[in-house]
Symmetry: C2
Subunit: 573 residues, 2 copies
Amino acid sequence: MMIRTFGKKIVGRCCAKVSNRRSCSDYQRSVRSSSSYSFSKTNQNDDNKRTKTQVYCKIAVCLAAAGATGFYCWKKFLSNSNHVTSLEKLAEDLPFEAGARRPDLPNYKYDEVAEHTSEETGIWVIFKEGVYDITKFIKQHPGGDEKISMAIGGSVEPFWDLYSIHLNKHVFEILESLRIGNVHPEEEMQVFKSGDHYAHEPKRHPALKVNSQKPFNAETPLQILVESFYTPNELFFVRNHLPVPKKSKLEDDFQITGIGLDSSISLTMSELKMKYKPHEITTSVMCAGNRRSAMHETKPVKGLQWSAGAVSTAKWKGIKLSDLLKDLGITEDSKACHIIFQGADTDIESKPYEVSIPLEIALDPNREVLLAFEMNGKEIPLDHGYPIRVIVPGVIGARQVKWLKKIIVSEKESDSLWQQKDYKTFNPSLNIETCDTGKAMAVLEFPVQSAICQPANGSVLKLENKKSLEVKGYALSGAGKKILRVDVSVDGGQSWMEADLYTETKTQMNREWAWTLWKLDVPLSDDMLRKQIDITCKATDSAHNTQPESDLGIWNARGLLENKWPKISVKFE
Amino acid sequence: MMIRTFGKKIVGRCCAKVSNRRSCSDYQRSVRSSSSYSFSKTNQNDDNKRTKTQVYCKIAVCLAAAGATGFYCWKKFLSNSNHVTSLEKLAEDLPFEAGARRPDLPNYKYDEVAEHTSEETGIWVIFKEGVYDITKFIKQHPGGDEKISMAIGGSVEPFWDLYSIHLNKHVFEILESLRIGNVHPEEEMQVFKSGDHYAHEPKRHPALKVNSQKPFNAETPLQILVESFYTPNELFFVRNHLPVPKKSKLEDDFQITGIGLDSSISLTMSELKMKYKPHEITTSVMCAGNRRSAMHETKPVKGLQWSAGAVSTAKWKGIKLSDLLKDLGITEDSKACHIIFQGADTDIESKPYEVSIPLEIALDPNREVLLAFEMNGKEIPLDHGYPIRVIVPGVIGARQVKWLKKIIVSEKESDSLWQQKDYKTFNPSLNIETCDTGKAMAVLEFPVQSAICQPANGSVLKLENKKSLEVKGYALSGAGKKILRVDVSVDGGQSWMEADLYTETKTQMNREWAWTLWKLDVPLSDDMLRKQIDITCKATDSAHNTQPESDLGIWNARGLLENKWPKISVKFE
């Protein structure tokens, strides 16, 4: 019954939010159709009478039924934002605290848990402070073994943020029955030996798809990327340019200096929080190299071979940079033209990561540039810029400096290589040797983009009398442009079907900072089932910009801003 | 010498303006290289001693020399903005007033002049109040007969705005020597009989390429479109949805009413001009149907068959709508969401032309929405919205209401067909019958666009030992996005050459309302000279949006916002 009520509540919220997009009746229908199944009420006292297998079967049946109605997937889109409240509420209701430390059990370090990933070694996972052996359970997991496998050797928490159906008393009961120990209380957040320039890297979730270890760069796996409107912090893609600074040396302050300021001023976030009204925005952060591997296939390009997972979405809380600058007397009439940001991360010569943005953007309250201190309601994790990072909605990730240490009000752009060399695009006929970086503009806002996340490219799917194939993905555009439409084609663009769109934000004109999720049930003909199906999509934003068919006009030597029509192929067996 | 100084002066201005775009040395080089020729100083007293032919030859030689250095074309880009001042200054220096009424000569009506367009009838043109017979001169015109032919039967003034080299004492001397009469002082600005709903249409310049007479819709011919950064008012494309209102009934006032206002308020522009600081902006106005004929070729679409000339650029002066709304207490917290504009033009049932824009845009001072009363330094011509029109930079022309009569502060969009039906795009697989206009968003901002204006598509060019072919066009993007690059290809997009860009505006981030003109000298190989050359181009804007290769992803039933790569073909003989 809880799920039922929960579902209805969310439908109401969703309706308000999809106005101006499309009728919400589709959403209501899909959720309502699922409300016919229920979870039987159990009594804690009966627990011991029930075998684990019985419980698994019960959940499996429930979930299978839910999956069949299509509810499971859409519910996940809808429910995540309520996760924190629900989890807390649930904890109060439970007679035991799932994941709490148990003095009667042994302690294990993260590395030990990470070694337990097979039937031979045992398959272990972490939930809060608890360590669990799920070797026998995994095959009976109602959601199949694909996604649970991504959590093994690490924490299940970020996955339960995505699949909030787990936030259920019975699931906690099963989990605690698999308990074997606790996370070691002295566990250190280090993966590399000290002395290494990369000695202070935090522990990362094993589900992240690593592109480079030093510096650490990893994307959110596509299978889970659009399972939730908000990406759990632990699964948020990571793009670091340099080693992560040592956490204990990071302080709650930064310097501001430059044109219009008599001297360098030191400001703490605590002071700023008291002085200025905190501001919260939901924005997607995307690396300019997202989907580079697709451009590389056309013609090789330099840079990390990102798939389409170098983008994630979070709720960020901070103070508006425009409030601070205004207060310090920096106006549009200033001689300054740029705001330079420096991070605490440094290269081997102790030079910090540094980039800049135009003053107009920094000063415009509607552009909502934040000095952020919270990510999805929590302290910003070390990998994402603890304790303060810059959030510049609508522009590429590279300008959104982590571990903020210094702001410089300047007449000129930053002269760092990240501003002057790395993030620039060129005429498709120029290569790294012939391109003129001095002439090209530093990339700031990005073009309209989309990706197909599910099914995975190259999947061989089970036939199972399917009448349609669910295709899911995301779309977003730079500079706050809203996604008007995502069209999907299975005949190379000769004909198009319009996808259902989903967002959790309600923004004003040109302030749609977050992605739009989309879904389409592609009807399957008998003919299609016999051969390979090539699926493509394209998004249109509110300025009616759309994606190019191929790389012919957009290929560039650095492989930036790949936004040609994404394509996947699947087969049935 | 005058030209020389003039050229230098302009180069200085140009340099300041192309900063952040590209080195201005190219521009300097091209202009400086032309400074070696001079105009001989003539004395008015010597006039009668000189035959007309001698004068024509002298100018022809000068201009041929100029043309050969490439100066002629670029100078035109650079000089136009100084036209008004130069013309006035020149008039003071002359011993006679060119184009002034001469009581000794007969009067002719516009229609009579318009009938003189061939050798048989005589070829007549108008300059100010003078009528001239240029039958014998036309073959000796130094600029060739193509462009002068566009002026016959009408006024040469807008062309001289484009080709300001004519603003020369000697040209005026030649012109006056061809004088045959005056424009009739009682000339009426009517082309249709009274009683007709279209009885009050103004006289239009014969050079405009008419797409529809009732309502009047005409584009600027591509041959002259990019000859000047500012389009002369007489040659500015015209897009009327209804008959033009009677000029004598149009008054200097409009009503404002709706949410947040106690009662309807009547305001005169004279009052507003006194109360608010006048504001001037340079913006291109583009019809959403621009280039529709190219989309129609792919698959038929409904609507006027515009080529690429449904766009023009002017300097507009008016008061900021944001100033007025703010003063009336309309804020973002208002219940209102839209500003509706009504024109004085009405349909057969007396319903006015009406559309709306979102309140956010109307209130944002940086979006610079104007209630305009001046166009290129002159009273707005009747065809362009005299005495007051709305200018909404960065959005399609349809939202920029002419002959403004009423502003309504509203909770909802306008329910007119121009807001709810006509200006909407759909999935390429939908046609007029299957599209759902209720679901689609009214088009507002437009995508990145470009066109090739010279040479004309299908031209057969003279070989003349050419080493390169000059290709010229324009590019622009919606929502104030700047044009970063225009690339040109002669091999279907397999390789690209970067064009030189030119603008006369210096705007802030996301406030580049006007087009960017571009030019490229395409190198010609022997092989290319022997066959048809297919030329294509594409523009990239500051958000790195670019144009799609084909209509595959953008075709829409109403043929709006065609922005696929433009293509032309030329041959040499």
